[in-house]
């Protein structure tokens, strides 16, 4: 087995008074693509929020070890600076915050944290424009307000753009494929595949096999009622598509 990037042990978490995660155990390996599937309301997004330190989620028990350290009490920005990235299921719109200015602030915060020199406006924009083109985004997205008035697909591409600019170590993609047309799905998947470098880990939350055909997961985990109830190889996808989650037995 490869090195473990993230080791989630017996994680219990609440949203408000309701326990959503009920003892999640999950190991994410370095350089591997993990997919999580599971019915609506199972707690998939909640898990991604627990990992990134979202204010809605309160961890009540268990640990999230990331590169060996328990990050449960870390501020969201510190988790991000250490290389955790979440592509949101529903990215928020932030009117008045310029997309390029936002992303440059984020990229430079990360570079500073890594001891790299900051990028000046011109260097940054050159890089950003290149990726915007690659992802098939309209160039004017660069200077629009962050996600404001973006279509569903444009928001998702913008998440991928951020991922590619930030060069994170652990990438969580929460339904990156939902609502994407074929071209967008291909562009996004190519972006993701380009990020594979044998070290980076991916956690892909999805309901569909389409994206998994492109990005070839190493492991499939099934999350149901706040627990991982099954882990298998890519062959599980076909079985799930055919039989549904009801047929999955707790392993």
């Amino acid at each position: 087995m490869s090195n473990v990037m993230m080791d989630i042990k017996n994680l219990h978490a609440k949203i408000g008074a309701k326990e959503i995660l009920k003892g999640v155990n999950l190991q994410l390996e370095e350089g591997k693509v993990h997919a999580i599937m599971g019915p609506n309301g199972a707690g998939k997004s909640t898990l991604s929020k627990a990992i990134t330190g979202h204010y809605d989620v309160e961890v009540t028990e268990g640990e999230i070890l990331y590169k060996g350290q328990n990050i449960v009490d870390w501020e969201p920005e510190d988790r991000a600076l250490e290389g955790i990235f979440l592509s949101f299921q529903n990215p928020v719109e932030i009117p008045g915050v310029n997309n390029a200015y936002f992303l440059r602030t984020a990229v430079n915060a990360r570079r500073k944290h890594l001891g790299l020199p900051e990028l000046n406006a011109a260097e940054f924009l050159r890089e950003m424009k290149k990726l915007v083109e690659e992802l098939g985004m309209k160039p004017e997205m660069i200077n629009r307000s962050l996600n404001e008035g973006f279509s569903g697909g444009e928001k998702k591409r913008n998440e991928i753009l951020q991922m590619m600019m930030l060069q994170p170590d652990l990438i969580i993609l929460d339904e990156i494929d939902s609502g994407l047309d074929i071209d967008a799905l291909r562009a996004v998947s190519e972006g993701i595949n380009k990020m594979k470098d044998g070290k980076r880990s991916f956690l892909v939350i999805t309901h569909y096999s389409r994206i998994l055909d492109y990005i070839e997961p190493d492991y499939i985990h099934v999350l149901k009622e706040g627990r991982i109830i099954k882990t298998a190889g890519a062959e599980l996808v076909a079985e799930l598509e055919e039989k549904g989650y009801g047929a999955i037995e707790e392993a």
Binding site: E77, F85, A121, L166
Partner: protein
């Protein structure tokens, strides 16, 4: 002089008491009708006006000495002390101006009664000028009135600044009477940052926008201290007013706007937007009435106030109101008060942006809408810097926050 004592007098007695000219009898009559403001007066309810009205003020009468400047009109302690050379502006003084007989603010009238003469600035041609109000004497009551006349079809931008670091504890009763003639445009950009203990400005304005004329107001009130602007605007046929008010108040500030926009003519348009950011124990005031008279058919009146409270102790007194006497019109108003959006804050932080920086970005974004509405680029940048100074204590606005030309820059450097 204790203003509160005037409240009991007849108009004749007021004129006599203040030694005002008989030409001011309308002002005296209106003041005695309206009475001096108390904490119960609607317009001053959240302002703590009473100590100011009860104080025994020494009234400041400063001598005048006029010099020339580049492009500025400077009014020091109520007297014109510098005039621009070569700019087509006429500045003079008169005691016969057409004052507003329907203003809601008693201090508009008190200001007129106490001003020995009115500074009148007349624009016969298009102009861009800077108008500096400078206050140098602490602890006094200073009353002076400014009249702005725009001739027909003349387009004027006035960049209004306030300098008063030395005038701590002073009370300023000021404001303009603006007459915007047919087809003319007045753009007024006011930038006033106060500190605790500074002078208290009560600026009571009256704006008459003639047929097909336009007035664009951009007011930027930042910092601490106490200050109120009171505004009554009259819109005639096809006239329009766009009034934007950005307030960023901290500490124990009491700052804000009280306004009445009156649609008199047909098809007149008013758009009023207030954005208020309140920190610490600051109190923001936005008490704004839009009134559409029965003569104001087909009027369009839109008004909106948004406030962000950054601390538990901050308070926003927001009262947008519509008073409408006809059916044929388009009108809307709204008011919201809230905190910074948690989901937005989390999004920024989840990308590695520190909490304080993320808060700053969101506050700047909220303010930006009104700052970006300034057409003049140099002024826009200056107000940006002024806001940053007030918020951050220093300005570090970078190119990408304010301009949208960076792509060209990147393209250039990529080509090299």
């Amino acid at each position: 002089m204790r203003p509160v004592l005037l409240g009991e007098l007849t108009p004749e007695e007021i004129l006599q008491e203040l030694g005002a000219a008989p030409t001011k009898s309308l002002a005296a009559r209106r003041l005695s009708e309206l009475k001096l403001p108390t904490r119960k007066s609607e317009a001053y309810r959240y302002f703590d006006i009473e100590p100011l009205m009860e104080h025994d003020w020494e009234i400041l009468q400063a001598p005048a000495a006029i010099g020339e400047t580049e492009r500025q009109i400077v009014i020091t302690d109520g007297r014109v002390t510098a005039l621009p050379s070569g700019v087509e502006v006429q500045v003079g003084c008169s005691d016969a101006i057409d004052i507003d007989g329907n203003h809601f603010d008693p201090l508009y009238y008190l200001g007129h009664l106490l001003s020995p003469e009115v500074i009148s600035i007349r624009f016969k041609q298009d102009a861009k000028v800077t108008l500096v109000h400078r206050f140098t004497r602490p602890g006094r009551l200073l009353a002076y009135r400014t009249a702005l006349y725009l001739d027909a079809n003349v387009h004027v931008q006035i960049d209004e600044r306030y300098e008063g670091e030395e005038a701590c504890g002073a009370l300023i009763l000021g404001g303009y009477d603006a007459f915007v003639a047919r087809d003319a445009t007045l753009t007024l950009i006011k930038d006033e940052t106060l500190k605790e203990g500074d002078y208290t400005p009560i600026l009571s304005h009256r704006i008459k926008v003639d047929s097909q004329a336009a007035c664009r107001l951009h007011t930027f009130d930042f910092g601490e201290g106490a200050g109120l602007q009171l505004l009554r605007a009259e819109l005639h046929e096809n006239a329009r007013i766009d009034a934007d008010h950005l307030l960023y108040a901290t500490d124990h500030a009491r700052r804000g706007t009280v306004s009445q926009i009156v649609h008199i003519g047909q098809s007149s348009v008013s758009e009023q937007r207030a954005k208020n950011i309140l920190a610490d124990k600051a109190r923001g005031i936005f008490d704004a009435l839009i009134k559409v008279e029965h003569t104001g058919k087909y009027a369009k009146a839109h008004q909106n106030s948004k406030a962000i409270l950054l601390n538990d102790g901050a308070y926003m007194a927001s009262k947008p109101q519509l008073e409408i006497y006809i059916d044929d019109l388009e009108a809307s108003h709204g008011s919201t008060t809230g905190q910074l959006d948690e989901a937005q804050l989390f999004y920024l932080r989840s990308r590695g942006i520190a909490k304080e920086e993320a808060r700053k970005m969101l506050i700047l974004a909220f303010a930006n809408e009104l700052i970006d509405a300034i057409g003049d680029e140099t002024l826009r940048e200056r107000i940006h810097a002024s806001f940053e100074n007030a918020y951050w204590g220093a300005t570090n606005v970078t190119c990408m926050e304010t301009c949208h030309g960076c792509e060209d820059l990147a393209a250039e450097s990529a080509a090299k």
